[in-house]
Symmetry: C2
DNA sequence: GATGCACCCTCCCCCCGGGGGAGGGTCCAC
DNA sequence: GTGGACCCTCCCCCGGGGGGAGGGTGCATC
């Protein structure tokens, strides 16, 4: 039961509220190694001063910090570094929360019994040369990338001569990462930093407008997709968004207007 | 590419932003069955009106609703029932958030370089007969159970003659569920509903006080545990909490005082 | 010193909700 | 009729555990 201040795994479990199983796993993962392991029997013995470490692990796991990150946090001797790593993860939790919020908003709209009919327009868009920033981006990073790119674009371009927009590769949604491009129409597009001129090809676009914050924009995408299929069209390229009214125009998200345009071609006679 | 308004899995994937793999999995799980499955080739074909269902699933999964629950939500034809099931899950997310908040509070305290010394007292507690409610409870349900039990207890007992408290089986923390008892000291404890008299045995308690909300009470538990071990004692029974100052006394969580008492016996000469 | 029994060990399989990749068949536009 | 994009099934992998089998240990009690 006792061995001079050294704790068997069961006692340590009681004191830390970590299950015996979990303690063994943390040993295997070299995350929390017993103070003593009896070579003959394999019995693990912990010391009381390992309790704080166990508690830190426990809390970090409650925050869904991966074991590998937990290890890095514990291994970093400097409290400042630790705090930074933890803050990083809290940041991740924060954006997780954003995702949750927008999922809730989408659900609310999806589960509404009545769906307002969609106002869809088929529009021929000519080619245009614009100032753009583009990159291959992971879906999770799109928002952050977008914020940085638009800031740089605005700094370089100044006042655009038309409606700003973006192109989003279908692969972004299919496989979680893809090519993304944001642009500002401007006369004589400059080349500076990441900004460079790009000629957007002429396309036939199926266009609809999404009103409000982007939380539930996925719903509008789906409705537009249904319309595309119902009208015997097929998707032919990255989706285009144009930001008719956005955060740069009004602080009221309810007033935002985003046009969603899907390049299409006809697959069957009308 | 097209078959009269019917979509191959890849097209459906593009339209719903669900990966092909995931769509196949949802088929296997009978969650979202293709409108047509070609018997000869196994090719799955979806119809455009399955897009809303796919979107609902997508959003529910973003909220970490288990697939089985997603199925129940989709299968329930009544919008009211659906909404209730979704609300249930949002409630779960809410309590998850509470857990996260308290984990963050604990971490903040744990990662502080300086730990204030613990004020621990060894106290002989005589046996006492109290009015109690007890049950076997899962760790996740403790808070809800506690709220119900104390409400019933207060309704039956009225004003207690001493400090209210609770006993928490160590198994609750070790294996996720265990025996829990809440009590009010009172003269001539009544028997009504779940309330019944219980005689708490006399014990030798190691006692310390936790000040503030219970978010980071686990940290105090750990410190007390260290003290127990450092003083050559061993745990001998369910931990006791007494609520010296609680939410019934003041709305300010910072003023709450909870005594934590661990029954102990001496395992080595002093 | 034996015995009972709580405790501890390792090992293997299971859960969830996917992703990676192999190996092979199908669709359809040119 | 052929190339290439698309689709199929099957198996293994991940993380962070839980359940349980089968067997060894520690120690208080007799």
């Amino acid at each position: 039961m006792h061995r001079g201040g050294v704790l068997a795994i069961g006692e340590f479990s009681r004191l830390t509220h970590l299950s015996v199983r979990t303690l063994r796993r943390y040993h295997d993962a070299r995350l929390l190694e017993p103070a003593i392991v009896d070579g003959a029997t394999g019995y693990r013995y912990y010391s009381a001063d390992q309790i704080p470490a166990a508690q830190v692990i426990h809390r970090l796991r409650e925050l869904d910090v991966p074991l590998s990150d937990v290890q890095r946090i514990l291994r970093s001797p400097d409290p400042g570094t630790r705090a930074a790593l933890v803050a990083d993860h809290l940041q991740r939790l924060e954006s997780e929360l954003d995702r949750t919020r927008s999922a809730v908003a989408s659900l609310r709209r999806l589960l509404q019994p009545e769906q307002p009919p969609l106002d869809v327009e088929l529009r021929a868009v000519p080619a245009a040369t614009v100032a753009a920033i583009e990159d291959d981006v992971a879906l999770d990073d799109v928002l952050a990338w977008y914020a940085g790119a638009t800031a740089e674009l605005d700094a370089v371009v100044g006042e655009p001569t038309g409606v700003p927009g973006g192109l989003y590769d279908n692969a972004l949604f299919e496989s979680g990462s893809g090519h993304v491009l944001v642009y500002r129409p401007t006369t004589d597009p400059p080349r500076s930093g990441r900004v460079h001129p790009v000629t957007l090809p002429a396309v036939e676009l199926v266009v609809t407008a999404h009103v409000g914050a982007h939380d539930d924009i996925g719903v509008t995408y789906g409705q537009l997709g249904s319309w595309v299929v119902a009208n015997a069209l097929a998707v032919a390229g990255p989706v285009r968004e144009t930001y008719l009214v956005g955060p740069r125009d009004t602080a009221d998200p309810g007033a935002w207007r985003t046009e969603i345009g899907w390049p299409v071609f006809r697959v069957a006679p009308p």
